[in-house]
Amino acid sequence: MIADLLETSIIISVLAATVRIATPILLAALGEMIAERSGVYNMGLEGTMLMGAFTAYIGAYYTGSLWLGVVIAMITGGLMSLIFAFMVITLKVEQIVTGLALNLLGSGLSIFWLRAAFANAGQTPTTPFFDTVPLPLLSDIPFLGPILFDQKILTYVAILLVPATWYFLFRTRYGLELRCAGENPKALDIKGLNVAARQYAAVIFGGLMAGLGGAFLTVGSAARFVPEMTNGRGWLAIVIVIAGLWRPVPVLLATLVFSFLDALQLQIQGIGVAIPYQLLLAMPYVCAILALAIRRSHSGAPAMLGIPYWRR
């Protein structure tokens, strides 16, 4: 039965699923990468994504527009991270603790709101969801076409964000300033530049992306909201930023590795290989722990990551 996995059609199906599964994680990880490059550790990614997933669903349900749902999810993610930014940048509260609190907020608020909105929370209505948009010509390429070019628009957005964030970080003035804020904020401050403004912008961008990633989970695929449906994806995104050395392309590669494991375990379950499925489910997370153990040293991490900036 393991041999079935080597069929071309199965390989294509696993790889296409990999790209699909990667989408929300990649969006959140690229956003978190930008936030961390500015020196702020947003541990509240899981809760932010969860709220994004929920508000996209409820937004699409009430407005009847999937795209409005997406916009609402991004605004929600932005607001969540605005709260976070105010706490850790302005009030200089411990970043990790604040992030954990944000996760609890996301978890509690989404369940509470779900129950408030629908009397029977066990049987919530479904919404439509985004279809795939095959790209003309490209999707006809054998093998690669169905894997890369027959995906949803948000997937294309996520992939395009890799070169976009790279260009921003390493080729623009704003990117240089953002990285400087994460490495040595004082170097910006003594040139008369506002460190906090740059960190706010980076953290809010991270929130928008987490909201977008969350939206993909509901209006992008599941068409409904299930409590705690992010299921560790936000945490995985944080691990991926570390494993990806705070750089866009390695972040993409790390995301694909984790997503491939996830896609593979789904396929193995589907074929019915006699391995306990709980074990298979754990694979991406075991891999995450291994990745962290191998990348023990935080080389490549912004020097002032997680440390609030005081002028004196």
Binding site: L176, R179, C180, E183, A187, I190, G192, A303, R312
Partner: protein
């Protein structure tokens, strides 16, 4: 310096800055001409840093006005100060090690989203040629020597268009040769009309300025033309009383060997910290270790104190090999250790003076009654220590975190001197303390020497080393490049060795 030109580059009138009830700058007025090297002299806490922070817009004074080239400016932020042509090189480097020199200089400048690195690079090269600052834009700052980092800091300020440059203790980290380079650069800056404010407490540097303004306890004692005054005049102005420079001392005692290093080597994290160090220290002798910070001095003392274990070689204390003993056992054999970072390694800030004085010896019979601490005994001995070391404190219960740097140092000295029956390890005992305390520390070290204690002294202040040592050893990259009796040692012999020049290697 003749009389100042009609419009000075900088005019400060009646500047006052308060922190709560403390007046850090009290009605300070001065003016600096274009092309002038103006030195700001004062003890720690005299208000030099506050004054320069006000000039750079990092602090806002409560009263007073500042004018640049005769135009009044409101310096509410560093951005305003930069726009007014004020540049500052901070006491500690403000650089990003993982950025290139170019990126460090360019970050935060320019307009629009694009980074125009080509234009920036040629401007930087032009500036560095003009002022004799040798920098390579493409190199990573992490790979630069300390001196090169200092040149980058200066170019950074010039790149922003500084016409008045504040240098805050710029030579603290430089070798004597690099300091000479700095003064050559300052000459170039002056020649192009840039006014330079030099904050320093090193008299030989202060004497090279055009004028000196002396601050004491936040007030301007006076501004003098440097060539009209002597060092003693300036010290007198700074401290407010005459300072005894020379301590009487006996001939170096030909005591028996107290401490000896036999081929001690230590490497850690891919770096050589100690390289085959062999050195003997006699009872009643002070050996001063001269060297630029980070050349193995810390590790040398830590190896003796037992904080790091050498990879090879032996360290003998009165004939006994202590290189395998624990910190505790070494201390019990009569070794005291004064670490360089007093608030990090020397004291517990949240403990009282009495508690800090028994730190590490609280097991001792003297402070114990049964399993309990004998509070009466600890308090009584703390009172004695406070009195005999003239610690300015409210009493034995005062928390050490609330002491000034000088008084905290006295608490550490009191504790470690009591421990040091045979050997005293002293790392930077006078860093960041006032002249009064420096005098006191020098006196105490010499008294300890008279008692027959062997003293290993590490200091970045060559003045300490020359004032106290019987012999001077120069360390470079973990190696002792030379040992001189004090009368044969002078700066022309020590300086090149500090930069590693004995081996023909560049610093």
């Amino acid at each position: 310096m003749t009389t100042a030109p009609a419009t000075p580059r900088l005019t400060v009138r009646h500047l006052t800055k308060r922190f709560g009830t403390l007046i850090a700058n009290d009605d300070v007025s001065l003016s600096i001409a274009a092309g002038e090297l103006h030195c700001l002299l004062g003890e720690n806490g005299a208000g030099k840093s506050t004054f320069s922070a006000c000039l750079y817009g990092l602090l806002q004074p409560e009263a007073g006005e500042i004018a640049i080239d005769g135009v009044k400016v409101e310096l509410t932020s560093p951005a305003k100060a930069i726009a007014s042509g004020i540049g500052m090189v901070h006491q500690h480097f403000v650089l990003v090690p993982s950025f290139t020199v170019l990126e460090n200089i360019v970050v935060g400048t320019g307009s629009g989203p694009r980074l125009d690195m080509t234009a920036a690079r040629s401007r930087i090269l032009e500036l560095s040629r003009q002022f004799g600052l040798e920098i390579t834009p493409g190199r990573l700052v992490a790979d630069l020597s300390v001196g090169e980092k200092q040149w980058v800091e200066i170019v950074k300020a010039l790149y922003l268009g500084a016409r008045l440059l504040i240098l805050d203790e710029p030579t603290a980290v430089l070798t004597p040769q690099e300091s000479e380079r700095l003064f050559a650069i300052i000459q170039q800056l002056k020649a192009s009309g840039i006014a330079v404010i030099l904050i320093s407490h090193k008299m030989n540097e202060v004497m090279r300025s055009d004028r000196v303004s002396v601050l004491r306890k936040g007030r301007l004692v006076g501004t003098v033309t440097t060539k009209d005054v002597t060092r003693d005049d300036l010290t007198m102005m700074m401290v407010g009383r005459p300072v005894a420079q020379v301590h009487a001392r006996s001939k170096p005692g030909a005591g028996e060997t107290a401490l000896s290093f036999k081929g001690v080597s230590l490497a850690k994290g891919g770096r050589t910290h100690l390289k085959n160090v062999t050195l003997d220290l006699a009872a009643g002798e002070i050996i001063g270790i001269a060297g630029v910070a980070g050349n193995g001095q810390d590790e040398l003392l830590e190896a003796v104190a037992g904080l790091v274990r050498p990879d090879s070689g032996n360290i003998l204390l009165r004939g006994e090999d202590i290189s395998v003993l624990s910190v505790h056992d070494i201390a019990r054999r009569g070794a005291g250790y004064v670490p360089s970072d007093r608030f990090r390694d020397g004291l517990v800030s949240d403990f009282s003076i009495a508690e800090n004085l028994i730190l590490g010896q609280h097991w001792d019979e003297r402070w114990r009654s049964g399993p309990f601490l004998d509070e009466t005994a600890t308090r009584r001995s703390a009172e004695t220590a406070i009195a005999s070391y003239s610690v300015m404190a409210s009493g034995p219960d005062m928390l050490c975190g609330r002491l000034s740097g000088g008084n905290a140092q006295k608490v550490i000295l009191a504790r470690e001197f009591a421990k040091a029956r045979h050997l005293l390890l002293c790392n930077q005992p006078t860093r960041g303390v006032d002249i009064g305390v420096i005098e006191f520390v020098h006196g105490e070290l010499l008294r300890k020497r008279e008692e027959g204690c062997a003293i290993l002294l590490v200091s970045e202040e060559l003045e300490d080393i020359f004032a106290l040592s019987d012999r001077i050893a120069v360390m470079f990259r973990g190696e002792i490049l030379g040992v001189f009796p004090r009368d044969e040692a002078d700066i022309t012999r020590i300086g090149p060795l500090m930069a590693g020049h004995a081996h023909g290697a560049a610093a």
